[in-house]
């Protein structure tokens, strides 16, 4: 059984009379330690997919397994535990807590889980050793995203989920962030799922999942993995 398994997942948003079928019979697998890139047009259902996988949202139908455990069967409390111990999230808009310093933002996450990585080390690892005592407002977007990644990594999660981590960043910074993610995966064997609408980035992935209006269009195993530094877009 694969590390991550989606089988016939359906997600229907119901707002009023309108039903939006965000995911239709989505099935795919992701292996452990893989870097998986999910691509698709805006509104295709990428975020929905990721949120469900990350335990932030529930599915309407189907099953999801992570490391042999059925995530889709979790109750609220279990989902919280799941998010707490198994998942690291990186958002497009960083979502740092503005009132906490970079270090504290990492600490607040690391304090939660069972065997966290030392926050200072993690922050140093993302190259923010000097800026640890800065508040988010005092950091640039890239730096903030690094803090966000550090926050996710410090929890030492089984799965790192990143929803358009470079969406709000300029090209160079985005590249650096992706590099960071690739390195993290490579060094610690962490499974990383990155959402992007930029198809060029698929080159860095082990597995590429194309989503098209709620359905899994195709799943491609990348034979020729390109380091981030070499990708141009």
């Amino acid at each position: 059984m694969a590390f991550i398994e989606f089988s016939h997942v359906n997600k229907i948003y119901q707002s009023g009379d309108v039903k939006i079928h965000a995911l239709k019979d989505a099935s795919f697998e992701v292996g452990q330690g893989e870097i998986c890139v999910i691509v698709g047009q805006s509104g295709a259902g990428k975020t929905t997919l990721l949120n469900i996988l990350g335990g932030m949202d529930t599915l309407t139908d189907g099953r999801i397994f992570l490391d042999g455990v059925e995530v889709s069967a979790f109750r609220k409390k279990q989902l919280a535990n799941y998010r707490r111990n198994d998942i690291g999230f990186v958002f497009q808009f960083y979502n740092l807590i503005p009132n906490l310093t970079a270090l504290e933002n990492v600490e607040i996450a690391s304090q939660l889980c069972k065997d966290p990585l030392p926050p200072v080390e993690v922050l140093s690892g993302v190259g923010l050793h000097e800026r640890m005592q800065n508040f988010p407002a005092q950091l640039s977007g890239g730096e903030q995203q690094r803090v966000a990644i550090a926050r996710a990594l410090a929890k030492n999660p089984k799965l790192l989920l990143c929803d358009e981590p470079t969406g709000a960043l300029d090209y160079q910074t985005g590249k650096a962030i992706l590099k960071l993610l690739q390195d993290a995966s490579r060094h610690s064997g962490m499974t990383v799922i990155i959402i992007t609408h930029n198809s060029a980035l698929t080159a860095m992935a082990d597995r590429i999942i194309r989503v098209k209006s709620g359905t899994i269009d195709e799943v491609i195993l990348n034979e020729k993995i390109v380091p981030v530094e070499e990708i141009e877009w």
Partner: protein, 1081 residues
Amino acid sequence: MKQAFRKNIFRTIKKSMGRYMAIFAIIALGVGFFSGLKASKPSMLYTAQDYLRERQMFDYRLISTWGFDQEEVEAIRALDGVAEAEGAVWEDFLYPDESGREICFKALSITESVNTLTLLSGRLPQADNECVLDGYRYSEDMIGTEITIGENNSSETRDAFVHDSYTVVGLVRSPLYMNMERGTTTIGNGKVEGFIFLPLSGFDYEYYKEVYVKTPLEALAFTEEYQDSIEDGAQELEDGSAAIADIRYNRELADAREEIADAREELADGEQELADAKKELEEKTGDARKELADAREELERGEQELADAQKILDDGKRELTAREQELADGESALVDGEAQYQAGLTDYENGRSQYEAGYSQYQAGLAEYEKNLAQYQAFLAMLGGNTAGYEEQLAATEASLEQAKEQLDATGALLSATKNELDQGKAALDASRGQLDASRAQMEEGRRQIEAARKELATGQREIDDNQKKIADGWKEYEDGCSELEEEVADAEAEIADAEEELADGRQELADAEEELADVEEPELYVLDRNTNVGYACYENDISIVEGVAKIFPVFFFLIAALVCSTTMTRMVDDERTQIGTLRALGYTQGAILAKYAIYSGSAAGLGAIVGYLAGVRSFTTSIWTAYNMLYGFSELIIVDNIWLLLISLLVALICSVGTTYAACRLELKHAPAELIRPKAPPAGKRILLERVTLLWKHLKFLHKVSARNVFRFKKRMIMMILGISGCTALVVTGFGVKDSVTNIVNVQYDEILQYDLSATYSKELTFDILEEIKEEFGSEIETAASVMETSAEAPFEGGSKSVTLLVSDPQAALGDPVTDSINFHQEKDGSAVELPGDGEILIDNRLAGELSLEVGDTITLKVGDQEKPPLTVAGIFENYVYFYAYVNSATYEEYFGEAYEPKTLYLSLQKEADPYRISSYLSDMKDAAGVNVIADMRIRVQNIMQSMNFIIALVIGSAAALAFIVLFNLGNINISERVREIATLKVLGFYPRESGAYVFRESMVLSVMGIVVGLPLGVLLHTFVMSQLKVDMVSFHVQILPLSYVYSVVAVIGFTVCVDLIMRRKIERIDMAESLKSIE
């Protein structure tokens, strides 16, 4: 306005109904509270005004030392500025109620044109022995019962009533008694318990005691216009009515003078008459006496004559008797003679017949002899002389014949002698017969003579008897005459004495009348206005409690409403920042955008104001009136809508909403549209001051650090939160404080100040016997017994007067225990004892001191009835909360009040276990017991008043709590909605709901604590202010907040926070992570 724009507003409202409702609710609550409280007093005022107008409450009440007669009442009615005047009578009396307790009642005459009664049930009196009863204090059960003028009433009191008892036929209210106060009186225990109204004809009166006057004034009661007009008119009325009263005074004075002159003249006449009468009497008695003496003399003479006549008559009688005796003797001699004669005759007859017989015998013998002789001779012859053989027989026969011849011859001789004797006897007898017949004739003659004499004598006697009777009659007449005269004289003398006495009386009377005339005082006239009526005077004062509350609380409410509007709208504008930017970019003007939010908040506030006004005015006023109903139940509340109040409320509501909206929008609109489209940078994190204290900071838990920093991150929200919480705390503290100040006075009053448990009043002065009796009966149950005199006095001050219970006791406590055992006179501040006052000094309570602004050393002038007493120096001020009390010693009382010190009241302190009611019932049953008060009952009565106070406070605090809740809820809501992303992030990081809740909750807890810290002193201030605004006439409050109340307040506020947080937790739980984190809109 373009349709799309309008749609946009509607959609916005629909979308953010919670926010819209928050503004609506806070404004509705604020306005409701404000207008409700504000409208309460005017409504209650108008209710009273309407009632007083309808019931024709008097404008002036005239009292004169001379009373008024009908003519004067008419004259007063005819005065300028008088529309109606009506005389009235009243009388206080003791009424033994069903339980046998003797209570004081006031009986008043029913007036037709002023102070008209409201009939609650039954009917109005039709006969003059019917009455209607105090409907505030008594229930329908009383209808049909009798109100008896008790036997213990003075004769004057009883004389004032036509009947001894009056049948209750109905229950009424009178505008004279708007509240429960019934005033004081000089009788009984000095406290009037209720009133009855009787027809005027039920009173036996000479003059009206008072005249009620109504002016044509249109101004409503309690208004300044009314007060001014009444004050202005008083002097004129006083002058006018004084002039009227003077007419009678002068007339009566002149009458009295004339009467005195007449009387003097009459007296002189009387004296003359008396002298004449005396003289006449003397003359008359003189004549009568002389006549009587004459009569006596004559009578005596007559008597003498009669005696003489009697004597002669008696001589005659005696002679007659003698003659009669003689006659009788003669007669008896005659009878003897006759008898002798008869005997002689018989003897003679007998002798004769004997003689006859002898003679015949003789004859026979002779014959025989002759025959025998012849025979013998014949025989001889034959024998012719042959005589031999015969000689012896012939010789015997010749001898026998010879013997017989001799015997015959002797007998013949004897017979002849006897015949002789008999003839002699016959002659003697014949002679004595003649003699006897002669003496009989003589005798007959004598008898005839005697008979005549007797007849004569009888006539004489009869005459004498007649005369005697005449004389006796004469004597009787004389005696009668005498006694009649004596009687007449005595009568005349008595009459004279009476007349003399009368004259003396007349003289005395004259002297008295003269003295009186000299002493006669001019009628003293008092013009009193409604302010002297307790109900009227207290009413405005009492309903001002609400006004006091209405002063500060609404401001508080509006401030908070503004705060809520401001934060809500700021938040809204922040939320819709990008939309604003878009609209601006699309070409909408700043004004149009502003208009959208102004319309949004303005419509919510406007609707809130209208709904709040309508609901508030109605619900608040009616519920407050319900509370007041316990004190003032004179009519149904008339709710007065005040358009200005509504307009002001609307205005304030709009300022709160549109104003704050404008302020919020202006900030945002200053930015360029492009800037607006971009998300607003959340407030930057900052180190806080606390972090500098590294030692402390280091020891803080990580999440606590976060909270600490968060608290200070949202400055505005922090301030709002602290304001809200502190306001809420202040309100709660005030609420509890008011309760403490209000309820505790009952304890202070009845545990600390009044130490006695029973007060028993007697109709007579207390004696050792009474004390002994009680002590004997209850012995150890009674701890102390103090004898005091309780009396009422008025303490006038500018703009009114207060009824004071004046306590008088003997400082030596000759009877029972000292008064200080029963009442603990101590200072309010530190509880230190207040010494009993010396002569000419008085102790007053802190309430009176407050009302009259008196301090130790000042003087106070008390009034009893209408009489002003000499001023007394305030020697001390003691703590007291219920009624007004003052204390003087007995010497001061006697000297300054000019009345005897008669302790009639007994204060009894009992042992803890003793049952006061059992003792009370015994005391009530004692001889001369007039009334017994159980302090526990009083306590309940005061507590009831406190409860009506508490009601208003509860209303206020309840509203405040609702307000606080809205504030907390709103702030909590805003806090969460502002931090949705942050919370969502934490949730994504794996915070459990409890943890993410705590993350927010910890902050609000910290803010709550800060709010409480600020709120507690604020509460103390607010409490002080509120207490200064709360006033009830009967009681005042001990301004204090008990330590426990702070605890309660803190617990309550934290409870509120927790409550709101619990609701917020659910909101936090509902935050959709996926949704919140998508992007920044």
